[in-house]
Symmetry: C2
Subunit: 77 residues, 2 copies
Amino acid sequence: MITPADKKVLKRFGENLRKLRKEKGLSLREMSYACSIDNSKIAKIEKGMINITFTTLLQLALALEAQPASLLDYELE
Amino acid sequence: MITPADKKVLKRFGENLRKLRKEKGLSLREMSYACSIDNSKIAKIEKGMINITFTTLLQLALALEAQPASLLDYELE
DNA sequence: TTATTTGCGGCCCTATTAGACCTCAATCTT
DNA sequence: AAGATTGAGGTCTAATAGGGCCGCAAATAA
């Protein structure tokens, strides 16, 4: 379904992901290499265009060398 | 793809989800009502049979009245 | 014992994620 | 200026998540 509300949440998540990637000093292609996710897909995730699955979340965390839960920490704000 | 490794992670997540649901004293059907996810599907998630999406994770958190990140806390163990 | 609740698996169909690859404009680099 | 890097959108296919419903055996309640 992907409601407008979902779209907003995904966008928020994507922004945070992008922030974390930048902090790590990784380019999309470098991160892509680190977690085996196509760089164009990561770009889409950061743009909130994809409703990622659980395993994808874990892969992203892996590339960022972070706890999966930490990718969701922005919610606490 | 859903590798055996993924299967294990999903199973672990499901177990934790089940634990949280029990702590809340909710039956599958009650939780289903609380987050608009079919009870049989929640059962499958708890069994690690589904690689849930980000929005589904948020829905589950909603039903448990918990922070989405808290559903991943078991990883810290 | 008879009802009711509960967990859970099977189906079905549609929407969409995953995965891989290509292209291109805008930025750096050199 | 020429070349490489980077972000990001497009496309195609296969796999699967979502959504909804049915049914049943076991546990629980009446």
